[in-house]
Symmetry: C2
Amino acid sequence: MNIDMIRAAALRLEGNVVRTPLLSSPGLDAIAGRRVLVKAEALQVTGSFKGRGGWSAISALPDDVRKRGVIAYSSGNHAQGVARAAQAHGISAVIIMPSDAPRAKIEGTKALGAEVVLYDRATEDREAIGDKLATERGLTLIKPYDDPQVIAGQGTTGLEIAAQAAALGVAQADVLVCCGGGGLTSGIALALEADAPGMRVRPVEPQGFDDATRSLISGRIEKNATTSGSICDAILTQCPGNITFPILQRLCGPGIIVTDDEAKQAMIAAFRHLNLVLEPGGAVGLAAALFHGSEVEGDTVIAVASGGNVDAALYATVLAGAG
Amino acid sequence: MNIDMIRAAALRLEGNVVRTPLLSSPGLDAIAGRRVLVKAEALQVTGSFKGRGGWSAISALPDDVRKRGVIAYSSGNHAQGVARAAQAHGISAVIIMPSDAPRAKIEGTKALGAEVVLYDRATEDREAIGDKLATERGLTLIKPYDDPQVIAGQGTTGLEIAAQAAALGVAQADVLVCCGGGGLTSGIALALEADAPGMRVRPVEPQGFDDATRSLISGRIEKNATTSGSICDAILTQCPGNITFPILQRLCGPGIIVTDDEAKQAMIAAFRHLNLVLEPGGAVGLAAALFHGSEVEGDTVIAVASGGNVDAALYATVLAGAG
């Protein structure tokens, strides 16, 4: 896993994914008390950064392997990223999703031509289900984060951040990344190590699901007690991966933990000041920028707004909390 | 008013406004029955394309004129565009706004340091109020659309559309533009005439406020009976301007008229498929792409999503209509 793989992924992704803008607003700066730059990955194809990793992994497969099809397990965003890339490559995709995933994500995945298999997040092990189906049908498993080509795809976000921030004269900043299994976080960290070494990645997690934060403190992979119970469905992963964690450990600053209510307030702020729809799990980076300023260093902070696939009913409920 | 003024405006705007992405989604394509490309001006600084025109006009003023300050009348988006540009140039701005403008727009304008003067949209003439204050205080009036430098600024949207569509291999398309006084529509038409002559601009208006559509049919400037009564507050202008109309007449195809309900459905579609917040008046171009396909020509249609400054309560109400 190295920067050359990220640069190679960027070439494969060119023209197939969105170079998302780095947005800002005086309103966000006022809340945070410093300049806030928001990498708007909710505008990415399939509505989250997972559109990058899915494309990177599938485009990297040898032709004869790829044509047999792929399988993935996902709460919804990785599902759509893999499904879209599979559809565009003309291959089949089986996606294993938790039965309590947002309807928008399940429907979005089906609309991209994938076969969706639902499982119970509380009682079943999605990795076991995935391994079994992959073996039975000869499919290639595209893991959601602990796969070098997936990490390389997510890391292209970091290459863009480095270039876009440099164009604004920003070379030093904490970069706050919504962290589930660490694919996006480790990919961005590797990209910034090469292209913006003055920046420092900070994993951001929901309260009660702070596995990465605790793992960075203890120096070994720590697990969450559960993988359900927060509004931030996209990032309720059990623990950092065997590939992602050593990268986090080598390159990241301390984790930041935000509450579900702070995530909701960040969703409202993105609505009001950026006209950008964020899902709860995609808003925790911005929540940290806005409400945990004392844990952040520097005049400028960069928040990665990683996704926006939220059901209309939940979004309307969150907006009802706007002042 | 010519293409050179638009290119000059683009140079003045560079680094000061957002080069907004041209977004797409299989979900929108499925609704429209053709490829849909969405120019996401709701992501522009100040939340609408007006961030371009305001900057263009103020940056084009001679120093000694500019330093005396500016004045503008606006339902809210032009207000914020002018206020932001004035603040960035270190000059004062007085903004005349209708008392029934969305709170988000009034608050947004005040937050950008402008002095806001409210008037009654049904009984008072905002142009008369503007002229009087400008004379009394020595301010330069920045008109919302019938000003060559404002049109030049809005036209930079068209330069970007031409380049971004060309990168996707699209040279021919109807370009559906939300049309109030015609500043954005005429500016984009001029830009595309030069850089993408295979494209044709189509003004889109809300039912009951189809002044541009009727003017194009009759060949003279037609007025709306009223300037209130549609949800599309941003584009309820009395009639096309003396500068904008001849450009519309020379370059645009027939107008398209959409209902308020279609505008709301387009807002829901942009939420669901693009994670993009649109205000009603900023959604009529997309509404025409999605629901008036029989009036549009070609395999690809480009919709300009011109703004997203909508109050949270109204947005939540619209989302409640999502299926």
